[in-house]
Protein backbone atom coordinates (compact mmCIF):
# COMPACT_ATOMS: atom_id res chain seq x y z
CA UNK A 1 0.00 0.00 0.00
CA UNK A 2 1.37 3.37 -1.07
CA UNK A 3 0.39 6.87 -0.06
CA UNK A 4 -0.11 9.61 -2.69
CA UNK A 5 3.35 11.15 -2.15
CA UNK A 6 5.04 7.81 -2.84
CA UNK A 7 2.93 7.27 -5.93
CA UNK A 8 3.79 10.75 -7.11
CA UNK A 9 7.53 10.13 -6.57
CA UNK A 10 7.35 6.85 -8.49
CA UNK A 11 5.63 8.54 -11.42
CA UNK A 12 7.99 11.51 -11.31
CA UNK A 13 10.99 9.17 -11.47
CA UNK A 14 9.56 7.29 -14.45
CA UNK A 15 8.05 10.12 -16.49
CA UNK A 16 9.69 13.38 -15.30
CA UNK A 17 8.23 16.38 -17.08
CA UNK A 18 4.98 14.61 -18.05
CA UNK A 19 3.88 14.64 -14.40
CA UNK A 20 2.77 18.16 -13.67
CA UNK A 21 2.13 18.18 -9.94
CA UNK A 22 0.49 16.76 -6.84
CA UNK A 23 -2.41 18.61 -5.25
CA UNK A 24 -2.97 17.45 -1.67
CA UNK A 25 -5.13 20.42 -0.75
CA UNK A 26 -8.37 18.99 -2.11
CA UNK A 27 -11.51 18.29 -0.10
CA UNK A 28 -11.38 14.65 -1.27
CA UNK A 29 -8.53 12.47 -2.53
CA UNK A 30 -5.11 13.91 -3.45
CA UNK A 31 -4.81 14.50 -7.18
CA UNK A 32 -1.86 14.08 -9.53
CA UNK A 33 -1.94 16.26 -12.66
CA UNK A 34 -0.45 14.78 -15.81
CA UNK A 35 0.08 15.60 -19.48
CA UNK A 36 -3.15 14.70 -21.35
CA UNK A 37 -1.27 13.43 -24.40
CA UNK A 38 0.78 10.94 -22.34
CA UNK A 39 -2.00 9.58 -20.12
CA UNK A 40 -2.10 6.22 -21.95
CA UNK A 41 1.59 5.56 -21.17
CA UNK A 42 1.21 6.73 -17.58
CA UNK A 43 -1.92 4.57 -17.26
CA UNK A 44 -0.11 1.47 -18.52
CA UNK A 45 2.67 2.09 -16.00
CA UNK A 46 0.19 2.58 -13.15
CA UNK A 47 -1.52 -0.67 -14.07
CA UNK A 48 1.57 -2.83 -14.60
CA UNK A 49 4.07 -1.56 -12.03
CA UNK A 50 4.58 -4.13 -9.28
CA UNK A 51 4.36 -1.53 -6.53
CA UNK A 52 1.23 0.21 -7.89
CA UNK A 53 -0.97 -2.38 -9.64
CA UNK A 54 -3.89 -0.03 -10.34
CA UNK A 55 -6.00 -2.70 -11.99
CA UNK A 56 -9.32 -0.92 -11.62
CA UNK A 57 -10.46 2.35 -13.18
CA UNK A 58 -13.37 3.08 -10.86
CA UNK A 59 -14.64 6.09 -12.76
CA UNK A 60 -13.55 8.44 -15.49
CA UNK A 61 -15.28 11.78 -15.47
CA UNK A 62 -15.11 15.02 -17.38
CA UNK A 63 -15.16 18.41 -15.68
CA UNK A 64 -15.65 21.89 -17.07
CA UNK A 65 -13.27 23.97 -14.96
CA UNK A 66 -14.87 27.18 -16.31
CA UNK A 67 -11.67 29.09 -15.57
CA UNK A 68 -11.58 31.03 -18.85
CA UNK A 69 -12.75 34.57 -19.53
CA UNK A 70 -16.47 34.87 -18.98
CA UNK A 71 -18.39 37.26 -21.19
CA UNK A 72 -22.10 37.82 -21.60
CA UNK A 73 -23.77 36.91 -24.85
CA UNK A 74 -26.27 39.37 -26.36
CA UNK A 75 -29.14 37.35 -24.81
CA UNK A 76 -27.55 37.48 -21.33
CA UNK A 77 -26.16 33.95 -21.17
CA UNK A 78 -22.59 33.10 -20.24
CA UNK A 79 -19.95 32.65 -22.87
CA UNK A 80 -16.58 31.21 -21.85
CA UNK A 81 -13.40 31.51 -23.88
CA UNK A 82 -10.10 29.90 -22.94
CA UNK A 83 -9.48 27.89 -19.81
CA UNK A 84 -9.62 24.16 -19.31
CA UNK A 85 -11.68 21.06 -19.59
CA UNK A 86 -10.37 18.25 -17.40
CA UNK A 87 -10.63 14.50 -17.20
CA UNK A 88 -10.38 12.79 -13.82
CA UNK A 89 -9.36 9.16 -13.45
CA UNK A 90 -10.23 7.53 -10.12
CA UNK A 91 -7.99 4.51 -9.76
CA UNK A 92 -8.04 1.66 -7.28
CA UNK A 93 -5.79 -1.29 -6.75
CA UNK A 94 -7.83 -4.31 -5.75
CA UNK A 95 -4.71 -6.21 -4.61
CA UNK A 96 -2.72 -3.45 -2.88
CA UNK A 97 -5.82 -1.59 -1.63
CA UNK A 98 -4.68 1.93 -2.46
CA UNK A 99 -6.31 4.67 -4.44
CA UNK A 100 -5.26 7.73 -6.41
CA UNK A 101 -6.87 10.39 -8.57
CA UNK A 102 -5.22 11.41 -11.84
CA UNK A 103 -6.20 14.62 -13.58
CA UNK A 104 -5.52 15.53 -17.21
CA UNK A 105 -6.35 19.09 -18.20
CA UNK A 106 -6.76 20.17 -21.78
CA UNK A 107 -7.70 23.39 -23.49
CA UNK A 108 -11.32 24.36 -24.04
CA UNK A 109 -10.78 25.33 -27.67
CA UNK A 110 -9.05 22.10 -28.68
CA UNK A 111 -9.94 19.49 -26.04
CA UNK A 112 -7.91 16.41 -26.96
CA UNK A 113 -6.92 13.72 -24.45
CA UNK A 114 -5.27 10.42 -25.27
CA UNK A 115 -7.64 7.47 -24.76
CA UNK A 116 -6.91 4.89 -22.06
CA UNK A 117 -9.11 2.30 -23.79
CA UNK A 118 -6.13 -0.01 -24.25
CA UNK A 119 -5.20 0.21 -20.57
CA UNK A 120 -8.57 -0.12 -18.84
CA UNK A 121 -11.32 -1.43 -21.11
CA UNK A 122 -13.88 0.11 -18.71
CA UNK A 123 -13.00 3.50 -20.07
CA UNK A 124 -14.78 2.77 -23.36
CA UNK A 125 -18.24 4.03 -22.38
CA UNK A 126 -16.87 6.44 -19.76
CA UNK A 127 -14.93 8.26 -22.45
CA UNK A 128 -17.94 8.24 -24.74
CA UNK A 129 -19.93 9.88 -21.97
CA UNK A 130 -17.27 12.53 -21.34
CA UNK A 131 -17.27 13.19 -25.07
CA UNK A 132 -21.06 13.36 -25.13
CA UNK A 133 -21.34 15.78 -22.22
CA UNK A 134 -18.23 17.95 -22.64
CA UNK A 135 -16.99 17.40 -26.18
CA UNK A 136 -13.63 16.10 -25.03
CA UNK A 137 -12.02 14.23 -27.92
CA UNK A 138 -10.33 11.00 -26.83
CA UNK A 139 -7.61 10.32 -29.34
CA UNK A 140 -7.38 6.67 -30.50
CA UNK A 141 -10.72 5.71 -28.96
CA UNK A 142 -12.14 2.98 -31.25
CA UNK A 143 -15.76 4.17 -31.29
CA UNK A 144 -16.14 7.74 -30.09
CA UNK A 145 -19.87 8.43 -30.59
CA UNK A 146 -22.46 10.07 -28.38
CA UNK A 147 -23.77 7.62 -25.80
CA UNK A 148 -26.67 9.32 -23.98
CA UNK A 149 -27.82 12.19 -26.16
CA UNK A 150 -29.37 11.40 -29.57
CA UNK A 151 -26.86 10.87 -32.36
CA UNK A 152 -28.29 13.82 -34.27
CA UNK A 153 -28.02 16.23 -31.32
CA UNK A 154 -26.48 19.37 -32.76
CA UNK A 155 -26.89 21.88 -29.93
CA UNK A 156 -23.50 21.12 -28.38
CA UNK A 157 -22.36 19.54 -25.15
CA UNK A 158 -24.88 19.84 -22.29
CA UNK A 159 -22.63 19.86 -19.23
CA UNK A 160 -20.40 22.68 -20.41
CA UNK A 161 -21.00 25.74 -18.27
CA UNK A 162 -21.83 27.94 -21.26
CA UNK A 163 -24.19 25.44 -22.90
CA UNK A 164 -27.40 26.79 -24.38
CA UNK A 165 -30.38 24.50 -24.84
CA UNK A 166 -32.03 24.64 -28.27
CA UNK A 167 -35.61 25.85 -28.83
CA UNK A 168 -36.57 22.77 -30.79
CA UNK A 169 -35.38 19.22 -31.34
CA UNK A 170 -37.00 17.30 -34.23
CA UNK A 171 -40.05 19.55 -34.07
CA UNK A 172 -40.49 19.11 -30.31
CA UNK A 173 -40.29 22.24 -28.17
CA UNK A 174 -37.51 21.81 -25.61
CA UNK A 175 -37.89 24.63 -23.02
CA UNK A 176 -40.76 24.45 -20.50
Amino acid sequence: MKNPEEIFELLKKEFGEMILGLDKDTPVDPTISVDPMQIHKIGAFLRDNEELKFDSLMVLSGVDDANGTKTKDEDGTDLITGGNLSVYYHLHSTTLKHKIVIKASTSRENPVVESVYNVWRTSDWHEREAFDMFGIIFKNHPDLRRILMPYDWEAGFPLRKDYKNPEFYQGMKVPY
Partner: protein
Protein backbone atom coordinates in the same frame (compact mmCIF):
# COMPACT_ATOMS: atom_id res chain seq x y z
CA UNK B 1 -76.77 3.16 -17.49
CA UNK B 2 -75.69 -0.39 -16.86
CA UNK B 3 -76.48 -3.05 -19.38
CA UNK B 4 -78.45 -5.31 -17.09
CA UNK B 5 -81.16 -2.84 -16.05
CA UNK B 6 -82.90 -3.48 -19.37
CA UNK B 7 -83.03 -7.22 -18.85
CA UNK B 8 -86.28 -8.96 -19.74
CA UNK B 9 -87.90 -10.79 -16.85
CA UNK B 10 -88.04 -14.16 -18.71
CA UNK B 11 -84.25 -14.22 -18.98
CA UNK B 12 -81.63 -15.01 -21.61
CA UNK B 13 -82.22 -11.81 -23.58
CA UNK B 14 -80.58 -8.53 -22.88
CA UNK B 15 -81.27 -5.46 -24.96
CA UNK B 16 -78.80 -2.64 -25.18
CA UNK B 17 -77.71 0.05 -27.54
CA UNK B 18 -74.89 -1.11 -29.81
CA UNK B 19 -72.88 1.87 -28.64
CA UNK B 20 -73.20 0.89 -24.97
CA UNK B 21 -72.29 -2.69 -25.75
CA UNK B 22 -69.24 -1.67 -27.73
CA UNK B 23 -68.09 0.77 -25.06
CA UNK B 24 -68.68 -1.80 -22.33
CA UNK B 25 -66.55 -4.34 -24.18
CA UNK B 26 -63.80 -1.83 -24.76
CA UNK B 27 -63.61 -0.47 -21.24
CA UNK B 28 -63.61 -3.95 -19.73
CA UNK B 29 -60.57 -5.12 -21.66
CA UNK B 30 -58.11 -2.30 -21.88
CA UNK B 31 -54.98 -4.10 -22.95
CA UNK B 32 -51.99 -1.98 -22.17
CA UNK B 33 -48.66 -1.90 -23.92
CA UNK B 34 -46.08 -3.52 -21.65
CA UNK B 35 -43.92 -0.47 -21.45
CA UNK B 36 -42.22 1.34 -18.57
CA UNK B 37 -39.86 4.25 -18.41
CA UNK B 38 -38.65 5.21 -14.93
CA UNK B 39 -39.58 4.94 -11.26
CA UNK B 40 -43.27 5.32 -12.18
CA UNK B 41 -42.91 2.01 -14.01
CA UNK B 42 -42.12 0.35 -10.68
CA UNK B 43 -45.44 1.60 -9.31
CA UNK B 44 -47.14 0.48 -12.51
CA UNK B 45 -45.67 -2.99 -12.05
CA UNK B 46 -46.86 -2.98 -8.45
CA UNK B 47 -50.31 -2.10 -9.75
CA UNK B 48 -50.15 -5.05 -12.13
CA UNK B 49 -48.99 -7.43 -9.42
CA UNK B 50 -51.21 -9.49 -7.13
CA UNK B 51 -51.84 -6.94 -4.38
CA UNK B 52 -53.49 -4.27 -6.57
CA UNK B 53 -54.23 -6.59 -9.49
CA UNK B 54 -54.74 -4.54 -12.65
CA UNK B 55 -56.08 -7.69 -14.23
CA UNK B 56 -59.41 -7.42 -12.37
CA UNK B 57 -60.17 -4.38 -14.56
CA UNK B 58 -59.22 -6.28 -17.70
CA UNK B 59 -55.84 -4.67 -18.04
CA UNK B 60 -53.37 -7.15 -19.47
CA UNK B 61 -49.90 -6.15 -20.64
CA UNK B 62 -49.27 -6.91 -24.29
CA UNK B 63 -45.83 -7.09 -25.79
CA UNK B 64 -46.57 -5.45 -29.09
CA UNK B 65 -48.24 -2.11 -29.81
CA UNK B 66 -50.32 -3.80 -32.49
CA UNK B 67 -52.33 -5.66 -29.85
CA UNK B 68 -52.54 -2.80 -27.36
CA UNK B 69 -55.44 -0.46 -26.62
CA UNK B 70 -53.72 1.80 -24.13
CA UNK B 71 -50.27 2.98 -23.33
CA UNK B 72 -49.28 4.19 -19.87
CA UNK B 73 -46.48 6.72 -20.13
CA UNK B 74 -44.91 5.81 -16.82
CA UNK B 75 -41.94 8.06 -16.24
CA UNK B 76 -39.53 10.66 -17.54
CA UNK B 77 -39.71 11.04 -21.31
CA UNK B 78 -36.37 12.06 -22.75
CA UNK B 79 -36.25 13.72 -26.15
CA UNK B 80 -34.54 10.62 -27.48
CA UNK B 81 -37.33 8.40 -26.12
CA UNK B 82 -40.10 10.74 -27.31
CA UNK B 83 -39.43 9.90 -30.95
CA UNK B 84 -39.69 6.19 -30.11
CA UNK B 85 -42.90 6.66 -28.10
CA UNK B 86 -44.46 8.52 -30.99
CA UNK B 87 -43.61 5.61 -33.23
CA UNK B 88 -45.08 3.08 -30.78
CA UNK B 89 -48.23 5.18 -30.54
CA UNK B 90 -48.57 5.28 -34.30
CA UNK B 91 -48.24 1.49 -34.46
CA UNK B 92 -51.20 0.98 -32.12
CA UNK B 93 -54.58 0.29 -33.75
CA UNK B 94 -57.54 2.62 -33.15
CA UNK B 95 -59.16 3.18 -30.73
CA UNK B 96 -56.13 3.95 -28.60
CA UNK B 97 -55.84 5.63 -25.24
CA UNK B 98 -53.02 7.24 -23.32
CA UNK B 99 -52.58 7.56 -19.59
CA UNK B 100 -49.86 9.99 -18.63
CA UNK B 101 -48.54 8.78 -15.29
CA UNK B 102 -46.63 11.02 -12.89
CA UNK B 103 -45.25 14.53 -12.96
CA UNK B 104 -42.50 13.84 -15.49
CA UNK B 105 -44.85 12.59 -18.17
CA UNK B 106 -47.39 15.31 -17.33
CA UNK B 107 -45.14 18.35 -17.48
CA UNK B 108 -41.47 17.46 -17.10
CA UNK B 109 -41.63 17.15 -13.32
CA UNK B 110 -38.40 18.00 -11.47
CA UNK B 111 -36.63 18.37 -14.83
CA UNK B 112 -38.83 21.24 -15.95
CA UNK B 113 -36.09 23.88 -15.87
CA UNK B 114 -32.65 22.28 -16.11
CA UNK B 115 -33.52 19.03 -17.85
CA UNK B 116 -31.86 19.69 -21.17
CA UNK B 117 -32.79 16.20 -22.31
CA UNK B 118 -36.37 15.93 -21.02
CA UNK B 119 -39.56 16.48 -22.96
CA UNK B 120 -41.72 18.79 -20.83
CA UNK B 121 -44.88 16.75 -21.02
CA UNK B 122 -45.78 13.84 -23.26
CA UNK B 123 -48.79 15.81 -24.56
CA UNK B 124 -46.38 17.76 -26.72
CA UNK B 125 -45.98 14.63 -28.82
CA UNK B 126 -49.11 12.48 -28.46
CA UNK B 127 -52.67 13.26 -27.20
CA UNK B 128 -53.28 12.30 -23.57
CA UNK B 129 -56.61 11.05 -22.20
CA UNK B 130 -55.94 10.92 -18.48
CA UNK B 131 -53.26 12.64 -16.43
CA UNK B 132 -52.33 10.96 -13.15
CA UNK B 133 -50.52 13.34 -10.79
CA UNK B 134 -47.88 12.21 -8.29
CA UNK B 135 -44.18 11.60 -8.05
CA UNK B 136 -44.57 8.73 -8.44
CA UNK B 137 -48.34 8.14 -8.06
CA UNK B 138 -49.30 5.32 -5.73
CA UNK B 139 -51.00 2.29 -7.29
CA UNK B 140 -54.34 3.59 -5.98
CA UNK B 141 -53.83 6.78 -7.97
CA UNK B 142 -53.08 4.84 -11.13
CA UNK B 143 -56.19 2.71 -10.56
CA UNK B 144 -58.18 5.93 -10.18
CA UNK B 145 -56.71 7.09 -13.47
CA UNK B 146 -57.76 3.86 -15.09
CA UNK B 147 -61.31 4.21 -13.71
CA UNK B 148 -61.40 7.73 -15.14
CA UNK B 149 -60.35 6.35 -18.50
CA UNK B 150 -63.06 3.67 -18.29
CA UNK B 151 -65.55 6.40 -17.51
CA UNK B 152 -64.41 8.30 -20.55
CA UNK B 153 -64.77 5.26 -22.78
CA UNK B 154 -68.22 4.49 -21.32
CA UNK B 155 -69.56 7.80 -22.65
CA UNK B 156 -67.91 7.63 -26.03
CA UNK B 157 -69.94 7.97 -29.19
CA UNK B 158 -69.42 5.77 -32.20
CA UNK B 159 -70.20 8.68 -34.48
CA UNK B 160 -67.73 11.06 -32.98
CA UNK B 161 -64.24 10.21 -31.81
CA UNK B 162 -63.58 11.76 -28.42
CA UNK B 163 -60.01 10.75 -27.87
Amino acid sequence: MGLLDKEFSDGNIVIARAEDLMNWARLSSIWQLGFGLACCAIEMMATSASHYDFDRFGVIPRNTPRQADAIIISGTVTLKMATRIKRLYEQMPDPKYIISMGSCANCGGPYWEHGYHVLKGIDRVIPVDVYVPGCPPRPEALLEGLLKLQDKIRHESMRKKTA
